[in-house]
């Protein structure tokens, strides 16, 4: 059974179920026009599809039923018990045929003439009083027509004029799918095969799947989100009580599984959206006289249902654009030394917590000069301003509303709507649009969509006593400045605060000031700079403090706050406190941070990775000594109250989220005298699968280490590296003793 038939069966059975419900209700409220319209639609849809699929028995039966229902709906007939029971019988008849199609693939033998006669009779018998003569005969004629047709075994689908079913459209589109380029078709069939396989295992296609209201799923998602929060709160409160630990761990696991399952229920493969492109591409290329081969990859990639809906239009726009503006006419392509047939590639893949959908064409690419000319012509940008823009910024101009570079306005695109719509739709769902173009070689449009709308990882930052969530996707690094450093290292150019991050100036935005928070910042505690890159805008967000990163459930904000523009939502954190979610892009725009050019960005990157060959180290100071930790092994840097440090034998340990972390303390920092409320710094590192902590006095920097060769040999000296022109010892994490340790003293000395 092909997918189309299967879908038809599911739909029809659903329609009949609905019809049955409505019919029984109709007995109580025979005048209810909405009920009648509903029943009419169910039968109408079946009729429309059957004609196309060639099921003549179904078609003639449903046609006769439809005529009767049409009269009921239009008020030309009144529903009585006889009509309703006949309709119910009709329904049973339709069901029997559907069952036969499902079981044997054919409608089976049967005589429907008696049923059809009864349906026609009913139209006459009751209608006489209300029915004008012409309408009656007309209806009767129309009703008998398909019967003759069916009996004469005429080809189906040849319906009476004015009898266009809305349901007709979909199957027509589907059928023409089979006339489209080969790769796409192969992919489509493969997909259908997979699904068919699943169906064979199930007893009935309609029984094995269930259509669920998206609203219900949304609600479930919401509740699961709540459960996650409640779980977080329970985990926090029970960490003190050991008896609860196993229970709360189980709760933790079950919640995680449940969340996954609900999220899974909302996932659909992108093939749902991709599948309409082969036909679109075929139509467009014919219309435009181009030759385009469509390749699709990663159709099985799954995406949240609502996000899938959200990218449908942007993708359609992008594909249109690629064919209309991107891929050149065959003769032009020949001249440029490319094959006459252009290539359009749709590619979907998962990248971390995002799904990336790419629309790649090998066309002419976007010529920046033309973009600029057009932008100036459309008064989207002034010539003076444009002169200062980088190539990358210029390319971004195509996302402005009212921009179009098409030389001629065609039916397909070039009416000044397009890329801005694409960007808006994608950004609305929390995604990003990237464009990459090389003149003469082609354009890649990349839609980066979060896997799910509902939950995102975020860093909780604090500003003037309030918590805010900062989406981690934009976060590059964190810099902590002590009170003294804040005074010395934040520099002002007139009114613009700047920070020298590895020798490059980073514009700063003070969150508290931006949000007009009047509460004074606590004195003498320093601050954190969150280095962000929001759509190419690099800046440092200065906040008062940091809390743990959290997976947050995004809640929409009331439209009342829309005009503020700096928040993209709100969330309830694990501790029950609410936090507003910051929109880094909007913060950057509000602070007039420009998009940095690619060169600048690369330079900024390079200042971190001078050379890819060397290893990066975290330079720390423990006691009087400087040490290096391989950056790849560093998980996080924690500031913890000294009072939380405990001891097992001679080893310092830290209880952390119900687990215990051994602390390497080679300089005796843990043992130092301290006052109530003092804090200390612990670098948490990964050693194989275990985690270990390293007590340090201070974290100094991140730097590139260079290997040192021992004099007189060509052996790289182990355990040391050249860091910032100083020979620095590298901490060997493997030698930090495991817990519980029998002889901690023995190992403490050697780790260098």
């Amino acid at each position: 059974m092909d997918e189309l038939t299967r879908e038809f069966l599911i739909e029809s059975q659903e329609g009949l179920d609905r019809m049955e419900r409505c019919l029984t209700e109709l007995e109580e409220r025979p005048q209810d026009s909405e009920l009648l319209a509903d029943i009419f639609r169910s039968v109408h849809t079946i009729k429309g599809t059957t004609g196309f699929l060639g099921y003549t028995r179904l078609e003639s039966l449903s046609h006769a039923g439809e005529n009767l229902l049409g009269m009921l709906r239009d008020g030309r007939l009144h529903a009585n018990a006889e009509i309703i029971s006949t309709l119910l019988e009709l329904m049973d008849g339709l069901r029997a045929i559907l069952a036969s199609i499902e079981a044997e693939g054919s409608e089976g033998e049967g005589d429907d003439r008696a049923m059809i006669e009864r349906l026609i009779d009913l139209q006459r018998s009751d209608g006489e009083a209300v029915l004008p003569q012409t309408a009656q005969t007309d209806a009767a004629r129309r009703a008998s027509e398909p019967v003759d047709k069916a009996l004469g075994d005429k080809p189906p689908g040849d319906k009476a004029p004015g009898d266009k079913a809305p349901g007709d459209k979909a199957p027509v589109e589907r059928r023409s799918l089979h006339a489209v380029p080969k790769t796409a078709r192969a992919a489509g069939e493969e997909n259908a095969d997979v699904e068919n396989g699943a169906v064979k295992a199930a007893t009935s296609a309609a029984d094995s799947t269930l259509r669920v209201d998206v609203d219900l799923l949304n609600r479930m998602m919401n509740l699961v989100g709540e459960l996650v929060l409640t779980r977080n709160q329970i985990l926090q409160t029970t960490s003190a009580d050991s008896g609860f630990a196993p229970l709360s761990r189980r709760l933790d696991m079950v919640t995680a599984d449940l969340r996954e399952a609900v999220m899974k229920a909302r996932m659909q493969p992108v093939s749902h959206v991709f599948s309409k492109f082969p036909r679109m591409v075929r139509d467009l290329t014919q219309q435009l006289g181009k030759r385009v081969r469509l390749e699709m990859e990663g159709q099985e990639t799954e995406l949240d249902k609502s996000l899938l809906e959200a990218i449908k239009d942007p993708l359609t726009h992008s594909v249109r654009n690629a064919i209309d503006h991107g891929i050149e006419a065959p003769e032009l392509r020949g001249g440029a030394g490319k094959p006459a047939e252009g290539l359009l590639k749709l590619r979907a893949y998962q990248d971390g917590s995002h799904v990336v959908v790419e629309v790649v064409d090998d066309g002419g690419g976007i010529r920046v000069e033309r973009v600029l000319d057009k932008a100036i012509e459309r008064k989207l940008v002034t010539r003076e301003k444009a002169a200062q823009m980088s190539e990358r910024e210029l390319l971004q101009l195509i996302f402005l509303p009212g921009f179009s570079t098409a030389a001629a306005i065609t039916n397909v695109s070039g009416r000044g709507v397009g890329m801005d719509v694409v960007r808006n739709n994608v950004e609305k769902s929390g995604g990003k649009v990237e464009i990459e173009s090389h003149a003469g070689k082609g354009t890649t449009l990349r839609l980066r969509i979060p896997l799910t709308l509902a939950i995102i990882p975020a860093l909780i930052v604090r500003s003037r006593g309030q918590s805010f969530a900062l989406p981690q996707g934009v976060l590059h690094e964190l810099v902590h400045l002590s009170a003294d450093q804040t005074r010395e290292q934040i520099q002002w150019l007139e009114k613009s605060p700047l920070y020298r991050l590895r020798g490059r100036l980073l514009p700063l935005v003070f969150l508290g000031r931006m949000l007009n928070q009047h509460e004074a910042a606590a004195e003498g505690v320093g601050c954190y700079i969150a280095v962000l890159n929001a759509d190419g805008r690099r800046f440092g967000l200065v906040v008062d403090g940091l809390a743990d990163p959290e997976e947050i459930v995004v809640k929409p904000l009331s439209p009342v706050f829309k005009q503020i523009g700096l928040f993209s939502g709100a969330t309830v954190m694990g501790n029950g406190e609410m936090a507003l979610i910051l929109d880094p892009g909007a913060l950057a725009v509000r602070a007039s941070i420009a998009i940095s050019s690619e060169d600048e960005e690369q330079a900024a990157e390079q200042s971190v990775n001078v050379e890819k060959t060397g290893q990066e180290f975290l330079l720390v100071e423990a006691g009087a000594e400087q040490m290096a930790l391989p950056l790849a092994d560093v998980l996080r840097i924690e500031r913890i109250p000294r009072g939380r440090m405990e001891r097992v034998g001679h080893t310092a340990v830290l209880r952390f989220q119900g687990m215990v972390l051994p602390i390497e303390d080679r300089s005796g920092i843990v043992g130092q005298k301290h006052e109530e409320g003092d804090e200390m710094t612990v670098v948490v590192c990964r050693d194989g699968s275990r985690h270990v902590g390293l007590a340090v006095s201070q974290v100094l920097d991140v730097a590139e280490g260079a290997a040192l060769v021992e004099a007189g040999t060509d052996v790289v000296a182990p355990g040391i590296t050249l860091l910032k022109e100083r020979v620095t010892s590298v901490v060997d994490l493997g030698r930090i003793p495991a817990l519980p340790s029998e002889e901690p003293e023995a190992t403490l000395e050697v780790a260098v």
Binding site: L223, S558, V560, I564, A570, V572, A579, L580
Partner: protein, 155 residues
């Protein structure tokens, strides 16, 4: 007035409007209880920087983030020391919160006790209040959740 008082004393048996009295500053207000979804006792409200002044903050309500309108700010009263109660109100545009000093009692009033806003009120209060209700021991300002909807207040 006497008739009214008598009416009130036997009102419990008759059909009337059930209202919940709330206080903001020195004034007592009445909200029809059919429009109240829930009363949250002193929830933790989260202020929203840069928000319109009449917004009291965000309140966590059954897994949703509820926008609360502060009755005090609407009346240009200084913010209350300590926690406020929040009524969860239903309006055509969705739910929102109304932050009040304290929630009083539920009482039944008769429609005829309610008079239109006195003409001497300032325009702003005229727009916010839905009439005055005469009780035997004073007056109560009727509130209509629809008029307090944050989206409406914004315009």
């Amino acid at each position: 007035m006497n008739a009214i008082c008598e009416a009130e004393s036997k009102a419990s048996g008759e059909a009337g409007i059930e209202i919940c009295s709330v206080r903001a500053g020195a004034t007592t207000f009445g909200v029809p209880i059919t429009r109240i979804l829930e009363i949250l006792g002193a929830p933790a409200a989260k202020p929203v920087p840069l928000a319109p002044s009449f917004i009291g903050g965000l309140v966590h309500y059954r897994g949703e983030v509820l926008t609360a309108v502060s009755l005090r700010s609407l009346l240009d009263l200084p913010a209350q020391e300590g926690a406020s109660d929040v009524l969860v109100l239903e309006s055509p545009a969705g739910c929102f919160g109304l932050m009040v000093d304290a929630v009083g009692e539920v009482m039944t009033v008769q429609p005829e006790w309610i008079e239109a806003n006195p003409s001497t009120l300032d325009d702003r209060r005229k727009a916010l209040f839905a009439g005055a209700c005469k009780l035997k021991d004073g007056l109560l300002v009727m509130l209509d959740p629809e008029r307090l909807d944050p989206m409406r207040l914004l315009h």
